[in-house]
């Protein structure tokens, strides 16, 4: 049989040689610094007149919570939003890029963006990068063909579902959906189920935490409910408050002028060409 090291085509596609080198180095113990990840719970569901997306707001860097109230529901188009899990930089970059492509497409066609268009652009980019762009997404929106909900994996595969969860808290959130989801939920029931699913991620998954963001998209209307629920408020606030002296304390007023170490000579010979 053919040896895969020999019959690699000479052109086309990206080169992932350095990625393989980095994997080899990592195995030998040369570890790169870690990225900011959104160990996350993100969810979405279809209800009677649209789509509801939900996310927690914790961003982590290894074991450290580096942002307690970040935004994980990204804008794609006026009628389409996208929840992101994985490396924060990648989810942010890929959603921003596709949202600008969608905006240009709208200028070009003069029509509302479709969810499948966003889906195709996202999966095309992620597939090209063979999983190295670490973005796991829940894409939801309402267009002229009705409400749509999709999940997109880092390798570029997609699913179409009535309810979806992603991120490290996806198991906890999916447990809520599997036990409580039914077709034709009202808006209030839908929001409540999304909140329950996110809370189940926040309280049972170490990678998820802090607050609940919700986004409700219906035909021709959307509601971005930033910090819809705050289940983890600060428990201790000093009753006396903290006070600081208004001015900076003056320790020294003596000014020592610095002597110029280089003397600039005006005139002199012109520089040679």
């Amino acid at each position: 049989m053919s040896n895969s090291a020999i019959d690699v085509p000479s052109r086309g596609g990206f080169s992932f040689d350095l990625c393989r080198r980095n994997d080899m180095l990592a195995k030998k113990g040369v570890n790169l610094p870690s990225f900011r990840k959104t160990g996350t719970t993100i969810v979405g569901l279809i209800f009677q007149d649209g789509v509801i997306l939900g996310a927690d707001t914790r961003a982590t860097e290894g074991p450290i919570v580096c942002d307690k109230n970040c935004e994980k529901i990204h804008y794609m188009a006026p009628n389409i939003y996208c929840c992101g899990a994985g490396t924060a930089a990648d989810t942010e970059a890929v959603t921003d890029m596709v949202s600008s492509q969608l905006q240009l497409h709208r200028y070009h066609t003069g029509r509302e963006s479709r969810v499948v268009t966003a889906l195709t652009l996202l999966k095309k980019h992620l597939f090209n990068y063979q999983g190295y762009v670490q973005a796991a997404l829940v894409l939801g929106g309402v267009d002229c063909t009705g409400p749509h909900l999709h999940t997109i994996y880092p390798h570029g595969s997609t699913d179409t579902l009535p309810f979806a969860t992603m991120g490290s808290g996806s198991l906890a959130a999916m447990a809520m959906f599997e036990s409580k989801y039914k077709e034709g939920l009202t808006k209030d029931e839908g929001i409540q189920l999304v909140v329950d699913a996110i809370c189940s991620g926040i309280f049972n998954d170490l990678g998820s935490g802090s607050n609940v963001d919700v986004c409700v998209i219906t035909k021709g209307h959307k509601e971005y409910l930033r910090n819809h629920l705050l289940p983890n408020p600060r428990t201790f606030v000093n009753a006396k408050g903290y006070s600081f002296p208004k001015k900076t304390e003056v320790l020294l007023t003596k000014i020592t002028p610095l002597r110029e170490r280089v003397e600039v000579v005006e005139g002199g010979d012109a520089m040679e060409e």
């Binding site: 085509p9 390798h155 570029g156 595969s157 579902l161």
Partner: protein, 236 residues
């Protein structure tokens, strides 16, 4: 149970059972509905039988990302071909495009596929396009991790010149047998039947499938099992 984080970063893949069978007048395609990332079932009701044209369908197995990309390209090429030709593409052309992409990119793809359909020149045809990108015209083809449990069954059960009803029942029986033995296959059974009349899709929910050796009736909870017959729940 060790559930590692790597499992979630593992490629989204379809440990699958896919089947294509020819019968007297057309073809039946069948598949289970489970897709998994590592040990987590990412989608329990997925559709692995994708439409390429009006009369040609494709069963996908292996990496979900790879097989979706291949099928998206082939669908696009076939639409273009249909317009240029002014008539529907044949199954052979469709299968050959799948083969072309699979073979040319064999080092980057982890996907095996079964192309099936009907055209006016050759009638119902099944083509297997396995991992290396070869193409095999077969009276029946099986694929995916669940197929290992089915070779003997098909050698015994497949007959020349079956009716549509017989072929459909054979496919449903085969997929349910594979679901019973293969951990990576599960969920529901989906079938697509293609003949001169057109296409019909069927859906068999998991709790309506036949029960095989040592399988139990579907139960909603332990309480249901306790109410049935035996007063001693531990003796069930």
């Amino acid at each position: 149970m060790d559930l590692k984080m790597e499992d979630f970063n593992a490629p989204h893949s379809m440990g699958t059972t896919i089947i294509g069978v020819t019968y007297n007048g057309g073809v039946v395609l069948g598949a289970d509905s489970r897709t998994s990332t590592g040990v987590y079932v990412a989608n329990r009701a997925s559709d692995k039988i994708t439409q390429l044209t009006d009369n040609v369908y494709l069963c996908r197995s292996g990496s979900a990302a790879d097989s979706q990309t291949v099928s998206d390209y082939v669908r696009y090429f076939l639409h273009q071909h249909t317009i240029q030709l002014g008539q529907p593409a044949t199954v052979k052309v469709a299968a050959n495009l799948v083969r072309l992409l699979s073979y040319n990119n064999k080092n980057f793809l982890q996907t095996g596929m079964i192309v099936g359909g009907w055209d006016k020149y050759e009638g119902g045809k099944i083509y297997g396009v396995p991992l290396g990108g070869t193409i095999i015209e077969q009276p029946f083809a099986i694929g995916g991790s669940g197929s290992s449990y089915l070779y003997g069954f098909f050698d015994q059960a497949w007959k020349e010149g079956m009716t549509e009803e017989e072929a459909e029942q054979l496919v449903v029986k085969a997929v349910s047998l594979a679901i019973a033995r293969d951990g990576a296959s599960g969920g529901v059974v989906r079938t697509v039947t293609i003949n001169s009349e057109g296409v019909s899709r069927k859906f068999y929910p998991g709790d309506t499938l036949p029960l095989w050796h040592e399988e139990l009736e579907p139960q909603n909870s332990l309480l249901d099992m306790m109410n049935v017959a035996s007063p001693e729940p531990m003796n069930m």
